[in-house]
Amino acid sequence: MSATGRSAADEYQALVAEFGALAAGGHLDPELADLDAEQLAFVRHWARVINVSSGALAVHFLDRAANAARLLDAPQREEWIVGALDVFDARGLGAGMAAFDALPTDAAPLPKGFTGRLADVTVRLGHFVHGLGGRALNLAPSENAFTDTETVYLPAEIGEHADLPAVARRYRLLAVFLWAQNRYGTWRRAAVQGLLDCPRPELEWPVFERLECLRLEACLARDLPGLARDLAAEQYPEDEALWAPWRALAAELLAPGASALDSLALLPRAIALPLPRPRSYQGAINPARVNEVMEIRLPQEQAKLKEALNNLEDDLVGEEIEMEGGGAPDPRRFELKPPQAGGGSSLSYGDKEVELSPELQQLIDSILQDLGELTPEELDEHARNAPEPGEDDQGAQNEPLDAEPPGKVYFYPEWDYARQRFREAYCRLTESEVMPGDPAFIAETRRKYRGLSQSIRRVFAAIQSDNQRLKSQTFGDDLDLDAIVEAQSDLLRGDELSERLYMQFRRLGRNVAVMFMVDMSGSTKGWVNDAEREALLLLGEAIETLGDQYAIYGFSGRTNQRCEIYRIKSFEEKNIDLVERRISGMGPKTYTRMGVAIRHLGALLAEAPARSKLLITLSDGKPEDYGSYRGRYGIEDTRHALLEVKRGGIHAFCITIDREAQDYLPYMYGEANYIVIDSVHKLPYKVADIYRKLTT
């Protein structure tokens, strides 16, 4: 019942009676009928108010009122309406309608009770676990708390708590204990095998859990004393008597060097002891899941390590040959020193200490978490067998090719790092236009990101209206005191008097040209492609408000004979509707041959008349193409191409969603010139922000 005491149906009838005739085609938005009486009364009240100002605006409002009622609470709705009316008053009907379109989608959540929910603390907890260090762990909801060494699973709800901090604390302790399992080696491969080989897991696993619990508590007390205090506060004092014999038995587990294997070794002796209750923060163990995940991860990481060590060895041997003036390198091996107090592990080659990149350090630490040591196979150079890079793409050329898109043909050289020289005119590149796609995608994106697009526009407008103070002008808004003093002193000395005595406030002259180079390789299919397109639509709109020169091109290709560039917007293109249609028409193609695309687009960008030139790559992975372009060859060629364009005064920047990008992007783009977005869904939210940071 509404405040007027009428039912929803009555309210709806009243609304139809009053505004039905006004609406287009004589029909109100049917969704209005779903609203309750109070909401309908609210809508009718405001429709009446708006109608006084403008009938068209009232109709526009009625079309959006149902949606607003769903998304916003009452004060927000009112703010939305009043805001739009202000815009209408100031700037007329068109702007007022646009203001009604811009529904704040990121509205504040409604207040909730304090049922402990993971969703409420995920962001904070994610940062926390990330900050603790070690292998990056994801958080995910699940029935019970456990970890598979890559993800920490936590229950989606944990019952009633006094307030949000209590909920956060409860989750924090659970997460930290699971993090500790990973960090302090509960899941060494040998331990996992030992657990899986247990003849009676239902008896033995709980014992192992208690033993590990004691060991991990000791580890945490050493490294994170604050947390250990919190953990202690959660323990049941009445259980202490039960724990005492465990502590006596497990004294050696509490020492710094103890590992999960020691816990396993104690199993037979501990199994006779009565089991205390598990700790409230302890979570469960799931060796089978751990094993599955490790089976996948370990070979991958070992392969990566081999590759990295091979590269490292090439560099080291190369250096030596230069220093010693030739001679075959004597076969020596890498040697790993265990982590020193406070520091990470260190690697030496022969008698030389090797400096580890943070990425390699992380990789080694991750493998150490699984194995406890690096096996001789990884470190011995004879066991490592590197694939020979730099072979020709002959194999691929026999592949049947699809019909080639029509367009202008260019030839570009490619850098072969093995030969240390260019392969001249090696890449054949065609530039063609993207066929305009479905306009529905544009409308959908606009609708989906209405709030975001509004906030981007606001931020960009703020950049634009950033005033610059120009001193020593012939006319202007204010006197320039410095200039006057100077002129006065010139006058006194009998020098010529300057006329430039004023200060002007002027819009910052932005003199920026940006080239967006968008990955259209096959791997972008699905979410990535959608996110790229959405991001481009939002960004294009925003850059238009700034007035920067910009161009958008897609790239893909298959072998050096089929490099393709897809034009979405050239610098000259002014038809924004067409550009948007083309963005919507972008689709995944084949592979990622990046070097040639950078050379081509770099050349286009170099011709743009601007002081600052920026080449932004949107990508989902490392350069890769059929044949030999994989791995180091592709990375070296891309890096070389980037160096070439940088020499022309172009700044290159890469936005990627590849989480492993840390391994190669710093090498290609330089330390500060890339950003990794951890989830593709965030792309549209982040790109505009990055653009703003880069150009202000």
């Binding site: 904070r124 990330h130 900050g131 260090g133 604050g226 406070g342």
Partner: protein, 287 residues
């Protein structure tokens, strides 16, 4: 020479004016050795570059010890130090000097760079990329083998004495393309790269700078590393060594460690509520 006033960290001049409590920048000499923990061979490289009149570029993230290093070198070489914090309104004449009017007369006033050249001091331009582009007009001739400072208004060319040295700093982590150093400028310098010190050394620095015990310093540094883990995941920068020292000083003055971390570190790093919570939780975990 006066005894160093231990209560103050700032450099004490030989010529401090007893009335105004001010010192002339040309006479800003370091009497006591500033505490500096060398990370590599930067002292030797700086000394060699100084001996051969090569200008020096210090690269590195904020709060990793660039300024302290230059203080240390000024003390070691026994040269006065003139520091200019560059900003986007800093013009060439701010550096070189300008005419002023005093009692109806015009008086020339040297800018800091000119004063440094005249005094044979070390001139340190902090965050050089922030300065206006026209400053390169004076920086370039100073930095190559010409070693000249043109003062157009006076119609003078100042010949630079051997003792003068130009040092600039620059943080390559800022990602704006408008704030990049031009090749023509950077290629005139000898570049020294700085980064946060390794863990044991950082502990040592925190102990020495703040007077806290090694255990507390160790925990602070561990916390610092946790915030550096978050770099790129919401934080633009992790906690610098300077922030860790600041927090340690607060602790030494009786503030609870976790509170000191919140105020001296977490809140200075970010305004994002979720991140603040997470950093807060991390500091609680360590203390």
């Amino acid at each position: 020479m006066r005894e160093h006033d231990a209560a103050r960290d700032c450099p004490i001049s030989m010529h401090e004016d007893p009335v105004t409590n001010a010192i002339r920048t040309e006479e800003n000499l370091f009497l006591d050795e500033p505490y500096y923990e060398p990370g590599g061979d930067e002292v030797a490289v700086f000394t060699a570059a100084y001996a051969h009149n090569l200008p020096i570029l210090l690269k590195g993230p904020t709060g990793c010890g660039k300024t302290r290093f230059i203080h240390y070198m000024a003390w070691r070489l026994q040269r006065p130090l003139i520091t200019v914090a560059c900003h986007d309104d800093l013009t060439a004449s701010d550096l070189v000097g300008r005419y002023l009017i005093r009692g109806g007369e015009t008086v020339w006033l040297d800018g800091p760079l000119t004063r440094a050249v005249r005094a044979g001091a070390i001139c340190y331009l902090d965050e050089i990329v922030e300065a206006r582009k026209d400053t390169s007009v004076v920086i370039h001739p100073l930095c190559d083998d010409r070693r000249l400072l043109p003062i157009d208004k006076l119609g003078e060319l100042l010949i630079v004495p051997r003792e003068f040295s130009l040092v600039v700093s620059y943080n390559p982590g800022y990602q704006s393309v408008l704030k990049d150093m031009k090749q023509s400028t950077r290629q005139r310098f000898v570049a020294l790269e700085f980064d946060y010190p390794p863990e044991e050394k950082e502990v040592q620095i925190v102990v020495k700078e703040s007077g806290v015990d090694a255990d507390l310093a160790q925990r602070l540094v561990r916390f610092g590393h946790m915030t550096r883990n978050l770099k790129g995941n919401g934080l633009d920068e992790g906690a610098s060594t300077r922030l860790l020292v600041n927090a340690a000083k607060l602790v030494n003055a009786g503030v609870a460690p976790a509170t000191a971390c919140d105020n001296a570190i977490a809140s200075t790093l970010t305004d994002d509520a979720e991140l603040l919570h997470a950093i807060h939780d991390l500091s609680r975990a360590v203390f």
